[in-house]
């Protein structure tokens, strides 16, 4: 990850914004040096004087003279600003149909995680986006609750996710790599941990990922269906179950099923989907790195790691946590 993401653009749009930024910074530095220089010279010249200086009241001529420069500079800035607004951000309300655009992304902000849907597959993800290089992707940004803001500094502009007001941006990555994204608009208690990761790969690898993920979704559904218990009353016979089966019983009985989607079992999106969770890089929208141990820690006490998040503490025993992790890791 880069130290100065705003200065290390990895898409044509971010590149253009970066260049505009540098231009304006240089102009500003110039103005700053001139103005400060004049002030310092005036102070230097006036510091030792004790007599009454000439009483000047001003002249319109000099006012007009010295405002010409700033006016020209502002016109210049306005022109380059407008040019960039018009050229790189033609509002993508309609999805183009040519092959470079076929992928569409649908992003929904939730308190406090991101739901990701892909237009070219049935894959639903959370807090992770997979992209191929060289495609200009239209992103539809929505919110399920309050205002969020979708931001990947190295790839695209910020765009707010506003309930009842869908927004669209273009997303394009030129270089493969992992990019950081996050919510940039204050959205309540856990605004801090509302991050996501963007995995940019070559189009071939992206296709491969897509097929594998779709296949994994199917497998998950089949596996989940096969794993006993398959009835809601199964928790009563928990003693005879394997670890994984016990995990499924907990998933059903403790209420995980009410908020989280799991392929073949449940569909709600109050919390992130748990399908293919073993593939994820982060837990809790960035608060922990994903691993079986950390997933266990999270399930044991989510409110310690992300105080105020919507997931309550279920007071699971260590044994139950182990069973649930086993089930979720490979259902």
């Amino acid at each position: 990850m880069s130290t100065f993401p705003l200065l290390q653009p990895a898409s044509p749009e971010a590149e253009a914004i970066f260049e505009l930024f540098i231009t304006v910074v240089l102009i500003s530095l110039g103005i700053f040096v001139v103005v400060t220089g004049l002030i310092v010279i005036a102070l230097w010249r006036g510091k030792a004087k004790a007599d009454t200086p000439k009483q000047e009241f001003g002249s319109s001529k000099s006012e007009i003279f010295w405002m010409t420069g700033p006016i020209l500079i502002l016109v210049w800035i306005f022109v380059i600003t407008t040019k960039l607004i018009l050229t790189t951000n033609a509002v993508p309300k309609i999805q183009p149909t040519d092959s470079t655009h076929e992928l569409e992304l649908h992003v929904t902000g939730h308190q406090w995680w991101w739901e990701i849907q892909y237009g070219d597959s049935s894959i639903v993800g959370a807090n992770e986006i997979h992209l191929p290089t060289g495609k200009r992707i239209r992103v539809k940004i929505e919110s399920a609750d309050v205002i969020h803001s979708f931001w990947i500094p190295q790839l695209a502009r910020k765009m707010d996710a506003i309930p009842g007001h869908p927004n669209y941006i273009w997303l394009e990555a030129t270089k493969e790599g992992v990019y950081e994204g996050r919510c940039a608009e204050y959205c309540g208690t856990q605004h801090t941990w509302m991050k996501f990761k963007v995995f940019v790969t070559s189009p071939e690898e992206y296709e491969k990922w897509k097929q594998e993920a779709t296949a994994a979704d199917k497998t998950t559904a089949q596996q989940v269906a096969k794993t006993a218990p398959d009835g809601k009353d199964a928790s009563s016979s928990g003693a005879k179950l394997s670890t994984k089966e016990a995990g499924k019983a907990i998933f059903l009985s403790e209420g995980c099923i009410n908020c989280h989607a799991l392929e073949g079992l449940s569909t709600p999106s109050i919390g992130p989907s748990l399908t293919r969770i073993s593939d994820r890089a982060i837990i809790g929208a960035g608060v922990l790195k994903n691993s079986q141990e950390n997933l266990g820690r999270w399930l044991k006490d989510p409110q310690t790691y992300k105080p105020g998040c919507k997931m309550p503490d279920f007071n699971l025993t260590d044994e139950q946590v182990k069973q649930l992790v086993t089930f979720l890791w490979s259902p």
Binding site: F4, P5, L20, I39, C183
Partner: protein, 736 residues
């Protein structure tokens, strides 16, 4: 009211005499003390924020606590430090500078002040309920609506702000009336010191900029308390409407703070350069232009909400444009320094630091006007750095300049310059360390309003430096408090004019007596005290200024017109929300066509309008001293007003019995909000008319004392005009 009210008198020790005071100087001091107290409160909140962020993954405060801290830090610094401190200086200095005995309405002045501690108590009382507001000082909907903020913190925030807003508007109306009506003979409006002119502009700006906030918080309160859905998208409301209304207030509010800073340095820099301000007309005129333009730039806070290209380009242009009148000032201040003989007093040092730091804040502001750059940098620490360079590096530094410059006049004693310079360097280093480094944090991608962060490369170091700087500022503030306490006791005696100042406040004793001036010097230019001290170099010999033609309007009328303009903006925004929510076809449930009886309300409209006519006749009677006719026609006016209210009660009860209440749908919400607020205004008007009737009966109103009655007339006719707009838009659907 209590009598000997001079600051030097024995009554100084008597707390009760302060509470009851209507003297502008004492009220000004109370404003400043309140501001200092809340500067310390808001400062402690800031220190806690910086302590939490000093190291990565810190858990000094909980996330909820952190969110409450930054919400209260912003709210406190804006409403309980920025607003009162400048109103305080305005209160103390403006009447002195124009050679007046007091402000136009001393008792209103006291009321304006006391609204503030009242509002502040409401705001901070939320702590005792266990839920201080935590939706940010901007309270973006729908986060601030009931489904997402169910605890009462936001309600306290709304009501506290409403109370403080009343105080701010009435205080500002007072300053407007004072400048227009109370200037000493000889002081034409073009001869007032720049401080007075710019504070006059600032007061006008307060009058027109608080109403959008009032509209917004009224609607939010109706959402939260009565179940309407103005700002709940899930029920048809609009999340963006809140932002529009809030920033229509919020951006001009920035100039409510920036203008006083301009006003202060426009006095301090000339005096310590021993020169008049360069380009008076340009500094004054550019301030007026800022007032006008400040209303056209609000949406630059919303470049990332997806407004579309047209609005983005328009607001970029307007924002770049408003940089020009500010740039004009920077050049004029520099030209004032140029060729001057500079005295590096503490006040001057702060003014110079203001100049340079404000330029930095202005230049980063231009970066944000560059819309695509804003798309990247907004809501990062870059924007935190930007506006703290404006608000702290600019405005707080100017405030310190004002403190050192006017403390001798206010207290009669000098502040210690050595301690002053120590404070200056502590603040200069601390401020630039804290906020300078935040530009880098922004470029590193650190967002605002996060209670902690990962240990990314460089983040810990930069945040550490930022937090360390805060300690310097805190130390500097303690030095100031110590300096004030010490100087009050044993500071050098100031004398009338310790700085060789130019303007009238330096022509009287320090502190000034109750009636401000024993005698006034002749006012023939913008610098009467300079003229008196340098007869052969007097300004009026070389620089002609327009003569005073002696015109001073009646204070009551000026106040009434200012109030009416303020209220008009409030109603316009409520009506805008009506049009926004009722222009679509897809409204479910009752609409204006199905629910309202146009002809019946039309009848009551005629009743209300005829009350304007009867009022006008009553006023004519009063002018001609026909008290009998006056009472008759005024009584009829009151009766017509009551009939109108009766009609409204009839209409409401019909609607309510049909199940149409404020929470039914957006038509009902907007209908009840608009007509309800209008009804309240009519009711208030009836009460005032009743008071006038009593005064008439008791013989207080005569043909020589019609000003107040005429002022009430401005209000009463205004209420009728508002109803014409309400009737056309809601009942006649002119926008459909």
């Amino acid at each position: 009211m209590l009598q000997p009210d001079s600051l030097g008198a024995d009554s100084r020790r008597n707390l009760f005499s302060w509470i009851c005071s209507v003297d502008h100087k004492r009220i000004g001091i109370m404003y400043m003390l309140l501001a200092v107290f809340f500067l310390l409160v808001g400062g402690v909140e800031a220190l806690l924020i910086r302590a939490q962020l000093a190291v990565p993954k810190n858990d000094l405060v909980s996330p909820q606590m952190f969110n409450q801290l930054f919400t209260l830090h912003g709210t406190t610094m804006v409403f309980l430090v920025g607003m009162p401190v400048f109103t305080g200086f305005s209160n103390f200095i403006v009447p002195l500078m124009i050679g007046a005995k007091d402000v136009a309405f001393p008792r209103l002045n006291a009321m304006s002040f006391w609204m503030l501690p009242f509002g502040a108590t409401l705001l901070y009382f939320s702590f005792f309920t266990g839920s201080a507001p935590d939706a940010g000082w901007f309270s973006y909907a729908p986060l601030s609506t009931k489904p997402f903020s169910s605890l009462p913190g936001v309600d306290y925030w709304i009501i506290g702000l409403a109370v403080m807003g009343i105080g701010s508007i009435s205080g500002a109306i007072n300053i407007v009336a004072t400048v227009m009506c109370c200037r000493a003979p000889g002081m034409s409006l073009q001869r007032v010191p720049l401080f007075v002119w710019i504070m006059f502009m600032q007061a006008i700006l307060i009058v027109i900029t608080i109403p959008p906030l009032n509209s917004a918080i009224s609607m939010l309160l109706i959402d939260r308390m009565l179940g309407a859905a103005f700002f709940e998208p899930a029920r048809g409301g609009s999340a963006l409407l809140w932002q529009h209304f809030f920033w229509m207030f919020g951006h001009p509010e920035v100039y409510v703070f920036a203008l006083p800073a301009f006003a202060i340095v426009s006095e301090v820099i000339p005096v310590f350069s021993r020169k008049p301000i360069y380009g008076y007309a340009f500094v004054a005129g550019s301030s007026t232009i800022i007032v006008l333009l400040s209303y056209t730039v609000w949406a630059h806070h919303m470049f990332a909400v997806g407004l579309g290209m047209g609005p983005n380009i328009f607001f970029a242009a307007a924002t770049l444009l408003i940089a020009l009148p500010t740039g004009v000032k920077i050049f004029n201040w520099t030209a004032t320094l140029w060729g001057g003989s500079i005295r590096f007093t503490t006040a001057m040092l702060f003014a110079i630091a203001f100049l340079i730091q404000f330029v930095v804040g202005g230049l980063t502001g231009i970066m944000f006007a560059t819309v695509p750059v804003d798309w990247q940098l907004t809501d990062t620490y870059f924007v935190v750095a930007h506006f703290h360079y404006v608000l702290v590096g600019g405005i707080v530094f100017s405030l310190f300049a004002a403190t050192f410059y006017w403390f001798p006049k206010i207290s009669g004693r000098m502040l210690n310059e050595k301690l002053g310079k120590l404070q200056f360097w502590l603040w200069l280093i601390g401020f630039n360390a804290t906020f300078g480094i935040q530009h880098l944090l922004g470029l590193m991608g650190m967002p605002r309003r996060v209670y902690t962060y990962d240990d990314n490369p460089g983040w810990a170091l930069c945040n550490g430096i930022s937090s360390a700087g805060a300690v310097f500022m805190a130390a500097g503030t303690l030095v100031l408090v110590w300096n004030i306490l010490k100087s009050m006791k044993s500071g050098a005696v100031a004398g009338n004019n310790p700085w060789e100042g130019f303007t009238l406040e330096w022509a009287t004793t320090s502190p000034p007596p109750l009636e401000n001036f024993k005698e006034l010097p002749e006012i023939k230019s913008r610098r009467p005290v300079w003229d008196a001290d340098h007869p052969d170099l007097a300004d009026w010999k070389s620089e002609k200024t327009p003569e005073d033609r002696g015109h001073r309007p009646a204070g009551a009328k000026v106040a009434a017109w200012s109030f009416v303009i303020s209220e008009a903006i409030f109603f316009i925004l409520l009506l805008v929300s009506y049009v926004v929510f009722n222009s679509g076809d897809e409204i479910e449930g009752p609409t204006s066509e199905t629910a309202l009886d146009v002809s019946r309300t039309g009848f009551f409209t005629l009743i209300l309008l005829s009350s304007s006519l009867t009022f006008w006749i009553a006023e004519r009677c009063l002018r001609r001293d026909k008290i009998g006719g006056f009472k008759l026609w005024l009584g009829l006016t009151i009766l017509l007003g009551c009939v109108f209210i009766g009609g409204q009660v009839w209409e409401y009860s019909g609607l309510i019995s049909n199940g149409i209440t404020v929470n039914r749908n957006l038509f009902a919400s907007t209908f009840f909000t608009v007509t309800g607020f209008h009804g309240l205004h009519v009711t208030g008007g009836i009460i005032v008319l009743g008071i006038m009737y009593m005064l008439g009966r008791l013989g207080y109103l005569t043909s020589k004392r019609t000003h107040v009655f005429a002022a009430v007339g401005v209000y009463w006719h205004f209420v009728d005009v508002v109803w014409i707009a309400v009737f056309s838009i809601i009942y006649l659907d002119v926008f459909k």
